[in-house]
């Protein structure tokens, strides 16, 4: 049964990639060809893609017997799923933000494709991978990633420098509101990252008997958090906004990406054992 589920999961995963890619093309095509119907259709394809993606993750969970947080494939898929789902929820409440999807959905399907490239084999759960602190730790890093990607998408549009639809002064199209979104989501990424890091330290305490070990993953994680702290301070203290703030945020998100996916290949990290 579990072999069947795992085999089916990879196929469903590919279908979800195709659906996200289709939604991206519809969004971009609709915007540039000025065909609002296409953009509306993209809005219908996205929930379908998320549903199919959820199915893939569910099958993986049932087939492997553990949550999607052991291999790179699982992590990338889980990160992509939460990003897409969180963004879809935001669009549900503020439809005009759908324009950010032109950046967010490509990130989502590229991550899923990269996951396939890293290999879909199942790895067994190491004995330290248990307990509530692990679950909280992983969940908050995933939330931090999702919020950081949304902040990044707003920052990228701010760097583009024009109101999103020339002539249209819709509330969520203004630079100020985009700037607010990148500030707030950057702040949320900081908050979730902090919670992820600190619950990770509680988990480490119960697993290894030490709450902080200056392991490369921990160290890079702290660097990232401090970088977000600097970003938020300059916004607060010097009222940085617009392109300057957007650029600094992009540096912070790049650091976050490196901390999440780059450091685990460093061989002397304790975490490297897990994210093979």
């Amino acid at each position: 049964m579990s072999a069947f589920l795992l085999q089916a999961e990879t196929r469903v995963h590919v279908v979800a990639i195709v659906l996200y890619a289709l939604a991206t093309m519809m969004l971009i095509g609709g915007r540039f060809l000025r065909r609002p119907g296409l953009v509306r259709w993209a809005g219908n394809v996205v929930p379908l893609a998320i549903g199919v993606h959820a199915l893939a993750l569910g099958a993986r969970w049932a087939g492997s017997g553990h949550g999607p947080y052991v291999t790179k494939y699982e992590m990338l898929s889980a990160y992509a799923f939460v990003t897409a789902a969180m963004f879809a929820l935001i669009v549900y409440r503020r439809g005009r933000l759908q324009v950010l999807g032109m950046i967010i959905y490509p990130i989502v399907f590229l991550m899923m494709a990269l996951g396939l490239y890293t290999g879909a084999e199942v790895h067994n759960l190491p004995p330290t991978f248990s307990g509530i602190w692990l679950v909280i730790h992983v969940c908050f890093y995933i939330l931090a990633f999702a919020t950081a990607v949304i902040a990044l998408a707003s920052a990228a549009l701010i760097l583009r420098g024009k109101d999103l639809e020339p002539g249209a002064r819709g509330r969520f199209h203004s630079m100020e509101s985009l700037d607010d979104i990148s500030y707030r989501f950057g702040g949320l990424a900081f908050a979730f990252w902090g919670i992820g890091m600190l619950t990770g330290s509680i988990w480490a305490y119960y697993s290894w008997g030490r709450f902080w070990g200056w392991d490369p993953v921990e160290t890079w994680s702290l660097v990232t958090w401090l970088a977000f702290g600097v970003y938020l301070h300059v916004r607060r203290f010097y009222a940085w906004e617009g392109k300057r703030a957007a650029l600094l945020l992009i540096v912070c998100v790049a650091l976050a990406l490196f901390s999440l996916f780059g450091t685990s290949i460093l061989s002397d990290s304790l975490h490297a054992v897990y994210f093979q």
């Binding site: 619950t199 709450f211 490369p216």
Partner: protein
């Protein structure tokens, strides 16, 4: 001391120091990386060592930086707490400020406020206050207070924790006199010594199909035989008992108790602790130098026919003299001959490694973390906002709206209450 520039400088310096600790191989966490760098660029490593960059976080400079951060953090937190207390409980009136808008239907307006989940928070002078998400105002204070507490208790934990690592064989008992494999304790702590015996009763590993460890569970008995307490410890399942936390380390294996008899009839007893071989193709080794100058090389290996990790790995012995193999044999009976030496297996039991720690300050440390969670989330999740209503001498009601942060995110609500035009404002 609290200028914005100072604060930014401190956080940036902290960030750069931690970045250096991530980029330069550190003496404690990455000794192999440092050796490899030394082989490639000896002068660079010399310079790094001279600057203390091979152990950034244990330098005096880093300690000083942390102390400065802590002090400024303390002062800033105090200011923030005072400000948030005033803003929440003893705010000033807004009568001198601009931006008041005429409200025609006061009771309808108040109903709209209630449906938007504003709550009436009493009066300031002749103004009625309506608040939404007021606790989010406290985000920065809580975040910084949490960091202040966490940093203080993290340092205290480091200074006051005593830990020791011990290896026990099934049936073996540990008391104050037993030597530990490794010991470390902070400058304000004394070495950890056991006040009551600790006996390892059993070691039960579980394996996955690919031979890797699924779980390791041990049963330990604590206290004198008359009032022994039985505890089960597992990986990620540490136990706090009588003020001491017992962790199950991931290292375990077999202890072979051997008697080596030499040609002249002398005997020597040896205990060989070999690690558990994990699956086929992952043997573990150990060397024992013998008194006749030869070396007994031991191997614990999974039978190639085994599907996974089993309970019965093979035990192979080889005797070497001056690098030449004298004899090799698998221990299938109780005794094997290796040239003119015989080796008798007196027993085989499992061993496991434990970390014992005595510390008291992790709970306040984790409480500091909780404040960081609350504060950071409060800062960005909800937008704290306030509306004041006042009625002038002509009976006209005026309202003023203020979002303390992220006003653009909630301007829909403001427009719903006041309309998006600027008319009717004073």
């Amino acid at each position: 001391m609290l200028s914005r520039r100072t604060v930014l400088l401190l956080i940036s310096t902290l960030g750069i120091a931690v970045l250096l600790a991530a980029l330069v191989p550190q003496r404690v966490t990455s000794p192999d990386g440092l050796d490899a760098l030394q082989a490639k660029a000896p002068f660079l490593v010399y310079a790094l060592r001279a600057a203390g960059l091979d152990h950034v976080v244990s330098t005096w400079g880093f300690a000083l930086l942390l102390a400065l951060c802590w002090l400024t953090l303390g002062l800033a937190t105090l200011n923030m707490l005072r400000r948030d207390h005033r803003r929440t409980f003893r705010p000033r009136t807004w009568s001198g400020l601009s931006g008041w808008r005429a409200v025609d239907d006061q009771s309808g307006f108040e109903e709209s406020l209630a449906s938007l989940r504003y709550w009436a928070a009493g009066r300031i002078g002749d103004e009625s206050r309506f608040l939404k998400n007021p606790w989010n105002l406290w985000g920065a204070s809580l975040l910084h207070l949490g960091m202040l507490i966490a940093l203080a208790f993290a340092v205290l934990t480091i200074l006051t924790t005593a830990r020791s690592m011990v290896v026990l064989v099934e049936g073996e008992s540990l008391d104050a006199t037993t030597q530990s494999v490794a010991q470390d304790y902070g400058v304000l702590a004394s070495p950890l010594s056991l006040e009551y015996p600790l006996e390892l009763a059993s070691v039960t590993p579980q394996f996955w199909d690919d031979g890797t460890v699924r779980q390791l569970e041990t049963v330990v008995l604590l206290g004198d035989p008359a009032e022994q307490e039985q505890l089960t410890v597992s990986i990620n399942g540490s136990r706090l008992v009588r003020g001491m936390r017992i962790y199950q380390d991931q290292r375990f294996g077999y202890s072979y108790f051997l008697t080596v008899t030499f040609a002249d009839g002398t005997e020597s007893m040896q205990r060989a602790d070999l690690s558990q071989p994990l699956g086929v193709g992952n043997p573990t080794y150990m060397d024992i130098p013998l008194q006749d100058g030869s070396v007994l090389r031991l191997k614990c290996v999974e039978d190639p026919g085994a599907q996974s990790t089993s309970d019965e790995p093979e035990f192979v012995l080889r005797r070497e003299l001056d690098g030449e193999v004298v004899a090799q044999s698998t221990m299938e009976t109780d005794t094997v001959s290796l040239g003119d030496v015989t080796v008798r297996l007196d027993g085989r039991r499992r061993w496991a490694t434990f970390v014992l720690a005595r510390e008291w300050s992790v709970i306040p440390l984790f409480a500091g973390f909780a404040l960081v969670f609350l504060g950071a989330t409060a800062l960005y999740v909800g937008v704290p906002r306030e509306i004041r209503l006042r009625t002038d001498e002509d009976g006209q009601t005026w309202a003023r709206w203020h979002a303390y942060r992220f006003a653009h995110s909630v301007d829909q609500e403001r427009d719903a209450l006041f309309g998006s035009d600027e008319e009717g404002s004073s």
